[in-house]
Point group: C2
Chain length 215, copies 2
């Protein structure tokens, strides 16, 4: 309470400096065509799908195994729950956990279909049960959500205390329960939906949308 | 900058005290059945549809006419744009406008169908044009969204600067562009969707959801 938190990055490379410099934000609306024609190309060009070794090490328990809170080991419908690195582990008002799917072919909510409902419902129900037992918080006191675009392209769910306005949480975040309910009603929702996301003006994906005349 | 803003309410009634007391928040998920069986009853019981005289006075220009920034006078597809009372009118980083529909039969996004697309697109496009001309902000620098549940049950859209985390803006807010795109793909989306919303523990609607075993 009342403490000033600072982050020192040394040495700082060009990416770090760009990340922390004050920049303007923009909201973009990605249609399915934009996803196919702009975003997917960007993801391949920037090797987003090849930069996931740290996630696989975590799922394979080659790193950070001691951080695991809960695991459903099923390779298709299972996941691992662990604290986010940003949480100090004690202040419940800022509780921040991540549920990371075992499946490696799901990159973001764009890939979700009714086939993933068992996985999504496992994450929702088993995380809620685990968190109630371990931290005494009910499901109605938690926000469970996806970022879009995600910070890394391996399917994961953010879980924070209802009052915590976590970094990256915004009106473009997508609640897990909404994803589940949308997929139950409209099986093709995430392949047809226009998905909003926020980007800074120096972001490479933002620039690609500008080049394509989509901003 | 650096000023402390305070709100003095005197005399304060029980409702005011309850509103500002520190309380726990909860997230609720309203199915279409919940809307019909719980929310609609609550709205009728608490006379939400009868407490809108101040909105009608505004639309009829019996009050606050000097605040109007733009109007599309069409009674079916038109609206009035004005600054929100919370905005000081000068700090663009906290720009906060409201677009209020002329139609009086639309209470919230639950009532929206493809029939409302011309109204919604008018709000989006004409507000974007007006704001760019008057304030120099592009559409991609604006968040245009609905609250759910709304604070008052006459259809209106919040428009804020992209960087401004306005009071009430959260992951349960619904972006205007998403509403438009969802209705174009799934005409019955808002009559079928499960809609999340946040409530404090002393809120009467929250209590009704608890009584119904829906929390």
């Amino acid at each position: 309470m009342g403490l000033l938190k600072t982050t020192l990055i040394y040495p700082a490379n060009a990416f770090d400096i760009q990340k922390y410099r004050r920049q303007e934000f923009f909201i973009l609306y990605e249609t399915p065509e934009d996803y196919k024609n702009i975003t997917c190309n960007y993801l391949v060009e920037t090797k987003q799908f090849e930069n996931l070794k740290w996630v696989y090490n975590f799922l394979d328990k080659k790193s950070e195994e001691e951080r695991i809170i809960y695991e459903n080991p099923d390779k298709h419908d299972g996941f691992i729950l662990a604290p986010d690195l940003k949480w100090n582990g004690t202040n419940l008002d800022e509780l921040y956990l991540l549920a990371v799917a075992h499946r490696r072919d799901l990159h973001s909510i764009r890939d979700l279909t009714p086939n993933e409902l068992p996985l999504l419902e496992n994450i929702r129900d088993e995380c809620a049960k685990t968190i109630e037992e371990k931290y005494g918080l009910k499901k109605s006191q938690l926000k469970m959500y996806f970022h879009y675009q995600p910070t890394f392209y391996h399917l994961h769910v953010h879980i924070v205390h209802i009052k915590y306005e976590a970094p990256g949480l915004s009106c473009t975040s997508v609640l897990l329960d909404s994803v589940i309910e949308n997929l139950k009603i409209y099986s093709d929702f995430y392949t047809k939906a226009t998905l909003p996301f926020l980007r800074k003006e120096n972001d490479p994906l933002y620039k690609k949308f500008v080049e394509a005349g989509r901003v």
